[in-house]
Symmetry: C2
Subunit: 349 residues, 2 copies
């Protein structure tokens, strides 16, 4: 690299522009490649079946901080995040490969802890481990995983496919995982300053759980299947609600409008953020790590969806190339910004 | 981890024992999981089709040294290694996901170089990119990839399935990649000592190419398919010929005998190692990074295989729980040692 005459920094581009650049100029050679880059996961057709494939990479001090993240939870969370990309296609995750790189800082017992978490998540969500490898690492822990799922031609949901006026739905609530992270980071700073602290998280369990042990929304995909609802477009919300909305808008050349008072934020999240003097809606839109599902449905499906637990209708898709708006609680129309994932931005600096 | 009362070091176990430990206690939940952990790749049945899935992780200063490894070659090599695991099942690789973690040491131009190599390998071997993601890294470059291939029920070859007296075949030749690595490392040391050297690799191109741009043996899998030869067992040789033989012996509870004078070593590899005072057969057995295929066939298939280019019959499978032997050029029976990959051992220290 020293020989490069021209040098442009990655930060200039930002994450999503960089990904767009990286995926350029790849040709598709096989007719069974149904969805290539640009969605939550790739889709490959095998006869009348569809395999859905996604992979993730998790690096110490980028994606997790072991000073407050127990290894068992980390293993569980990594599996959950990886299979969430399969759920984001309305598919059922079934198989997983795991690659670990561990430095000599880690004992066998530490690796066992990590595997205990991986195993627990695989067991709970009925995921079969089909590959595992381990190598050395110079510093730190690096985990990569690939998940395989199965989808029907009739129920597979891509990022593309929705139309104007269709309803925007989400599962669960937003901002809790990021709020949990803020609490953990605060305790870490206190500990570093005083060298003795007994973190008291009583009453904040939900926030910590959402950060340390997020649950992939298999239940939502199962509920959609059971109620014969096929999302017209779908994605997993990993980098904040706004980002997920932008993925859907961009993929379909559409605008969107969502309502602040319909956007689900848990009361504890709201109260905790208020005590930290942070606007909860900002965290819901940009906080990240929620791993909830966002999807669009036809208006006719509203009757079918309205009674399903843990699903909220938060707005509707707007006109072609239209704006992306939040209608605030005081009824102002606010343009949603293409602001990155808060966490991500912090990390890249 | 600081809280662990008992601490055992990973080095005590060694790579393969560690993998065996990690894969313990995972249950299989799905009937379509045909091959789980323990082979080159996982196999998933979709109706009458079989998907073959493998993943790899490559870390800077563990798997590659950018002081002499051009990024373009690195991209090409990582794809080649990943799809080699699919070829090791006698399957055709077709799709790939890529995850990159890059530190701010890397410019956009550097990442472009890497992608150029990834793209070149995908183009040459007709691989469709179905997923790409990029994140930050604290230090160095970390690449992970997952490959998906397709296999027929009739031609899929696992590590298990061979019987006593069947013939052991290999593609290509052995030890060249490791010899190329020795040359590159030597030049690096000279450069570090003198700060000015013009590496002269003239005449050593084959060795460098085998290290910097190994070619996955799609041609061999295609030749086997074309000639209606189905290996009774198969694996890719990534950590040395001895290791691959041990995988096959262990998976089938069999012994083996191979012949030194049948083991293909390229003349330049042999001569170069002799000048370095290293026994070529040792490097062929334990050098690693050859990415050739090792497979067994029924004796009746010998007539079909003997005229296929780049395939050598090097020995035969021995009796149940039998020894693993090399018959040397001077006709001694030498027991093959379960010695690790030379490269790997060095790295772990």
């Amino acid at each position: 690299m020293e020989e490069q005459t021209k040098r442009n920094e990655i930060e200039q581009l930002g994450k999503f522009n960089l990904i767009n650049r990286l995926k350029e100029n790849f040709k598709i050679h096989h007719t069974n490649t149904e969805v290539a880059v640009g969605d939550d996961a790739g889709v490959i057709t095998f006869g009348t079946h569809k395999a859905v494939v996604a992979s993730k990479q998790f690096l110490e001090n980028i994606h997790f901080d072991l000073s407050y993240f127990p290894l068992k939870h980390l293993g569980y969370k990594c599996v959950g995040i990886t299979i969430s990309d399969i759920l984001g296609m309305n598919a059922i995750p079934k198989q997983l490969t795991v690659n670990l790189a561990v430095s000599n800082r880690f004992s066998i017992e530490a690796v066992d802890e990590l595997m205990t978490g991986i195993r627990a998540c695989c067991q709970y969500y009925q995921i079969d481990l089909i590959g595992i490898d381990v190598t050395s690492s110079v510093t730190g822990l690096c985990i990569s995983m690939a998940a395989v799922g199965e989808a029907d031609a009739e129920t597979l949901a891509k990022r593309t496919g929705c139309k104007e006026n269709e309803l925007i739905c989400v599962s669960g609530d937003f901002g809790a995982a990021y709020t949990g992270l803020l609490l953990l980071q605060r305790e870490k700073r206190i500990f570093e300053a005083t060298q003795h602290s007994q973190p008291d998280f009583e009453g904040y369990e939900y926030l910590l759980e959402r950060q340390l042990k997020p649950e992939p929304r298999l239940d939502i995909v199962q509920a959609l299947h059971k109620n014969n609802i096929v999302p017209t477009a779908m994605t997993v919300v990993s980098d904040g609600l706004a980002n997920a909305l932008f993925h859907i808008c961009n993929a379909n050349d559409l605008g969107c409008t969502i309502f602040e008072n319909k956007t689900p934020i848990d009361q504890l999240t709201f109260d905790t953020l208020r005590s930290l003097k942070i606007v909860a809606t900002t965290v819901a839109l940009h906080g990240g790590e929620d791993y909830e599902l966002l999807f669009t449905i036809k208006q006719d499906d509203y009757e079918k969806i309205k009674n399903i637990e843990n699903i909220s209708v938060i707005g509707y898709m707007g006109e072609k190339n239209g704006g992306r708006y939040l209608i605030s609680n005081d009824n102002c129309q606010i343009e949603l910004k293409a602001q990155g994932f808060i966490q991500q931005e912090k990390e890249q600096n």
